[in-house]
Symmetry: C2
Amino acid sequence: MGYKYQLTLNNLLRYVNYVFSDVPIVYRPPHGISYRSTYGEEYRRILKLADGLRKLGIEPGDRVASLDWNTIYHWDLYWAVPGIGAALHTVNVRLAPEDIAYTINQAGDKMLIYHRDFAPLVEKLKPALKQVKYYVQISDGQGSVGKDPDIEDVIKSGEERELPELSEDQVATVLYTSGTTGRPKGAYFTHRQLVLHTLSVALAIVGFRGLSRGDCAEVSGEPCATLYLVPMFHVHAWGLPWVYSVVGWKQVLPGRFDYGHILRLIVEEKVKAMAGVPTILYMLVTHPDLNKYISEIKRLAPIYVVGGAALPKELAKKASEAGFVPRSGYGMTETAPVVSLGFLRPTEKWPEDPERLYDLITMTGLPNPLSEFAVFDESDKPVPRDCRTAGELALRAPWITPEYIGDPEKTRTAWRNGWFHTGDAAVWCPDGRIKIVDRLKDVIKSGGEWISSLQLEDLIMTHPAVGIAAVVGLPHEKWGERPVAFIVPKPNAAVTPEDITSHLLKFVEAGKIPKWWLPDKVVIVNDLPMTGTGKIDKKALREKYRDLLRQSI
Amino acid sequence: MGYKYQLTLNNLLRYVNYVFSDVPIVYRPPHGISYRSTYGEEYRRILKLADGLRKLGIEPGDRVASLDWNTIYHWDLYWAVPGIGAALHTVNVRLAPEDIAYTINQAGDKMLIYHRDFAPLVEKLKPALKQVKYYVQISDGQGSVGKDPDIEDVIKSGEERELPELSEDQVATVLYTSGTTGRPKGAYFTHRQLVLHTLSVALAIVGFRGLSRGDCAEVSGEPCATLYLVPMFHVHAWGLPWVYSVVGWKQVLPGRFDYGHILRLIVEEKVKAMAGVPTILYMLVTHPDLNKYISEIKRLAPIYVVGGAALPKELAKKASEAGFVPRSGYGMTETAPVVSLGFLRPTEKWPEDPERLYDLITMTGLPNPLSEFAVFDESDKPVPRDCRTAGELALRAPWITPEYIGDPEKTRTAWRNGWFHTGDAAVWCPDGRIKIVDRLKDVIKSGGEWISSLQLEDLIMTHPAVGIAAVVGLPHEKWGERPVAFIVPKPNAAVTPEDITSHLLKFVEAGKIPKWWLPDKVVIVNDLPMTGTGKIDKKALREKYRDLLRQSI
């Protein structure tokens, strides 16, 4: 019997080093460092880092936590920790300190590698972290805080030893969902899952219509550049550090996000592809420095893939005006995350009517190679593909987490009949695309029918004075639930509940929404509670305004 | 535990049907049929064919032989037979009848599905095929020959039942190498191997520089089209039926190869990507009808990936002049087959000097995602990457056959130290590319040094009057071996041994080859013995001219 090839990140990295060793990778955080490296140089640093971690005491099967921004160190850790058979637990820095300690303890992390910005937090947490034996600091060229060893010293201590041959079923990463209900839930991913996710996403982004920028190297004579604005402490930065490596793109790491600095990087590094949640795109396109760079951004026309939350049409238009090419994607922590992207079939045309174009762009796209969509009703039967009947979105793909750590009950609920149930309410369209209408738990059930809080929010946000909108369901004796809208006006703008209602009435008259969808109450507020991943925390919102809601009808 | 996703062709096909169901697939053989279908329609035909085969008695684990051209039926069989858990054995129609019977018997094929063109052959073979229980004919719209059932009836007999869930380790195909020594050797491939081969090759051809034509759908408003000229009875047609499906390209199947007809198809179907052995490219670029189509071919500029044998520089130039964009690839039956393609790194430039450009184009390229090159000397140590020191090319990739069927000895020789040894002599260049200098067994060892027969042939073929050249080694008392060249002149051209020697002397003077490489003898002949795959059969050549060679020095 010959060699049984294992689908490991180690083999992927060896490939990247063989073919793309001289492709640049750039680390330019806002604090002034400009580190220009190549995949080949980073490969050697990764080997040394891996060996250094081993020498410190990390063994196969161990778990290593990271608390870091989008630094070159974090990028190296994405390869080095799984590379020695340990699992990287990228801790979500936006969680409450208590939840951070909870996830580190539940994962059983043996080492914590943290950026100096988190030194005060780590000092506070240390007494609660019983299993963490080793602390390593990423001083990031700014001098150490405290006495923990610096990651540069770990790298220096290591030798350039080849990474070991691992089993593809070895766990490579551990992640926690920032659930709005209860404690964060753990999920894990094997090497095999991450390699397959990488190949699938890579194929879509370099080869499929409307995403591909494969021409840029040919035209410019230098490698295409990407700058992903997904924090590396969120679900593998959507896998993009691995994806862009296997296609040999220049990667630009911006450190901690500073939007003015990022605009400069887009232009200076000639960025052609980006990705991030809608909020970050919003920050870029409303930034005071945008005008300085807009003509150059229009020339570059970077693709900007939005995920993590629905892309509002207004934001998509604004982004287009600023020179970005907005596209959508869909995924969640449990799905590694990317299962679909907003590409166009070879047989389709972009709609000429701008409204229909933006409708298409803001949908969640088509499944990436090897992933599959279905929408099921409450009795687990597929709903009709009529773009109207809502059900629960279910998925198949080679990279969905096989289980929730220590939660067999939740695992059983999610995995039924060979499908992973997302908890997202969606409609299924004749062309195979889906549209998320709500989180199932955020769906408003009124008179036995569903009201999509997302669609109401989308329409409310087309009002020029509205910054953010959130619609939640309120218990109602007769109807079961009724919608209530919370509005944060734009800076220096004013809006009244009556404005919103008459704004929405126009959509009722145009037949876009039924009249009974109109919120029973519109509340103007200064801000909204957010989750650790920058989404509106509807659970907290409902709790915060519980009394108000009780009185309101 | 959730769903454990299996990497099967069935899951791949379901994906293709979901996303690319309306992409066309066209079958236009020379005998006048023009069948225009879509992936969606073929999906339903495949389900029916699979069910029909099951009803006839094919069970999981069975083997089904095919004897067919590049027909739509063969394309359907590529999915339907593995789809029910059986293995497709694509019989090489170019083998001697005795070897055809040998491979069918050794594979234990239970069914033989043959094109009507092979009906006389099959009738002759039937008594020798002890294990074949069922015969099915592909009458291909031309009426049945004999009494075996027609494949269209098998399709009609089946229902559109979903394909079963299979294990990814199920054997999907069985192939035989057309060895020039001894009997053909069997190799097999699992679903997992074929899916990974598909993803890797797809990523390179749609995303990597110099291969990607991903723009064509965007520009033309219709799907990109491919017409692969690799017979589907040769090593999975290089996997291209699966590869182009997963990227949603229009596939054009030309039936039995007729070069004038193929030139017409390129133009009429707007073909942007092709593939095949050098001989077929040569047939196209020297075809009398070329002039009729050349201006349109130049506009289309189809990529033409050459594999199966080295691409001679002269042919690459001729192909470029005819409007094709020649590229190289490397692979062999045992490797599924594609492990490398002639793409350019993002950091490289195409050489401006045409000679250097064609040197690069005619090399075997860089490894595709997840595959890996090494060149080892006789003590299994890597040779220096100096582009000069020859050794044996070794490979790693997830899709290399794990063993030779029933030949543990050959398996052990090929698989050593975790590397598959190809039997090809190659030099390893600093940029990671390799250049095949010979089959190990064709290498000429003279005075302890290697002479590359391929390089000598390449240089001889730059002579304007030379059609084909083959150089083999002759035993020599003093030197061990010495080279002898066999020359087939072009039609209506004349050449003498002295012409060849003085032609080669120019390369000696230019420092391209050492003087001691000059053949001791040049023999002008009318034709050369060929293998079943259209390569020069050097073993037969040596035997045929053994006496001549004995006398010659």
